[in-house]
Symmetry: C2
Subunit: 302 residues, 2 copies
């Protein structure tokens, strides 16, 4: 498989590559397509929400589960979760197979977001971020994050009870998610972003590194997990992982709203679409998934 589909990367659709275009420029047909794409991602998000609300009811001890519930849904969305479901569908899997992994990815993201915004004595609040509203004090937010991380992985491990589950695939997904959210992924990005690691890299290079480790690797993980759970072939998993990495970086870097990054973002979009161009799949589905790098979609999420 994995043949280059020239009709895909050259098609005159909303996902066609035009490295010369300004971010956000759009014509009427693109607006329609963009709305369709947004509704695709929004419908996946709604399903993940439904799943999470059922999995995470406010139950005793309420003092623990109420903040857990709140902070899970208070964290901004990451498209890494929806990408997990979309990738599963793209490789021909039933999207419901990816729902637990997509939820676990959101939970890891919500815990990381909560901890990154804890006001600590030795942590200057990042200049670029608006003041985060805290419903709880740091004590509760810290422990709640600590409860959310194992909860996400518990959900995954428990999903083995489902008749359609595959233990080896679930373990592989746990490996992917723990690696992406841990010390070689999101946590490394947070170290760099918070400037606590004495790193030599600065400026745009630093932003790129942070976006790679945070949004990039989380999206790469989401895409790979979806492909694994959907029963994708190894080359499909790797194509989707690469697409996720680039698309996640586009998402992260677009959110920085730094005009000096536009060229780099365009290059990453191109790389993302090139990966998909080598994917032997249904054109309509490829169009939907490729819309992840579109400015309107990025804007809806950031």
């Amino acid at each position: 498989m994995a043949t280059h589909l020239s009709h895909f990367s050259n098609a005159k659709t909303n996902f066609s590559i035009n490295t010369k275009s300004k971010l956000g420029r759009s014509s009427a047909p693109t607006v329609v397509a963009a709305a369709q794409n947004q509704s695709y991602w929004a419908s996946i998000d709604a399903e993940i929400d439904t799943y999470l609300k059922k999995a995470l009811p406010i139950r005793p001890p309420e003092s623990v589960f109420e903040p857990m519930h709140h902070l899970t849904f208070a964290a901004p969305r990451t498209t890494a979760s929806a990408l997990c479901v979309a990738a599963c569908e793209l490789v021909g899997g039933d999207p419901s197979l990816a729902m637990v992994a997509a939820s676990a990815i959101h939970l890891m993201h919500a815990a990381a977001y909560t901890h990154q915004h804890l006001p600590l004595t030795d942590r200057p609040r990042p200049k670029s971020e608006p003041t985060v509203q805290h419903k709880y004090g740091p004590n509760i937010e810290l422990l709640t994050g600590d409860g959310i991380i194992p909860f996400g992985l518990e959900l995954l491990a428990r999903s083995v009870d489902s008749a359609r589950s595959n233990p080896t695939r679930i373990l592989r997904v746990i490996m992917e998610i723990t690696r992406a959210s841990g010390s070689q992924g999101v946590v490394d990005g947070q170290y760099k972003e918070l400037g606590i690691d004495g790193s030599e890299i600065t400026g745009l290079e630093l932003i790129e590194y942070v976006c790679k480790k945070k949004e990039g690797e989380l999206h790469a993980c989401g895409a790979a997990c979806g492909a694994i759970l959907g029963g994708g072939a190894e080359d499909e998993i790797e194509i989707l992982r690469n697409f996720g990495l680039y698309a996640g970086m586009v998402q992260g870097m677009t959110a920085k709203e730094n005009p000096m990054m536009e060229a780099k973002i365009e290059r990453l979009k191109e790389m993302a679409l090139k990966e998909l161009g080598s994917f032997d799949g249904k054109k309509a589905r490829l169009e939907l998934i490729s819309s992840l790098v579109e400015p309107s979609l990025c804007a809806a999420y950031t």
Copy 2:
């Protein structure tokens, strides 16, 4: 199986039950036995250390992995890890099968310990605890804990690559560990201990609840995981889980050094030994594992 072995619970050994005895009272033969028991647990700890040091080298990014390495080994020991290995051996499994789970339990414990001792703006330092030495600032300690949790579970998920591994058992162990270390286990205990949940329980009842959720459930988890990985029968797993719960509570409550808790501790020891009394296993091994509730062993760990 699971017949009551009267020779065990009535034996005149260091693990015999004497609810009238003062904690720590010992005669000469008991001292010898206690030394043997301590060396048993110490040898398991040394193996876990060796495994962890190999699994967690100081590698790039060093700014992330150096604190991770340090905080993993700076946390006090929990016998829940060694109990995991001992339980595996008791049900007839090769103890090496439990080494990853034992290490993961230590990692969860180390992360929880690190986060519980973070100086937060709304967190009064617990009166009963000595001042904890911090090598790093709260910023680094927070993120390092966040890296340690997924790392422990990643090690477990990765262990499926071993030829002798059993994916279903590993998933079950991940479920056990995430549940015990999350919002219904250790995190719940921390909420209560830090007094941030508006709980109605106070005094000795509160201490008992905290010790149940923290040391109790972590030891129950350790014992159950060891029995699962060693291929124990369901009733063996449950006996060892109960033993672990009581033994962990004994460990936690003994550390409080509160004379008003002595009677309760003795009752828990009795319950722990009664569980083992219904276990159909080698007497010498049962003696070793039962030594977990002995005061000299508790003292060595707290």
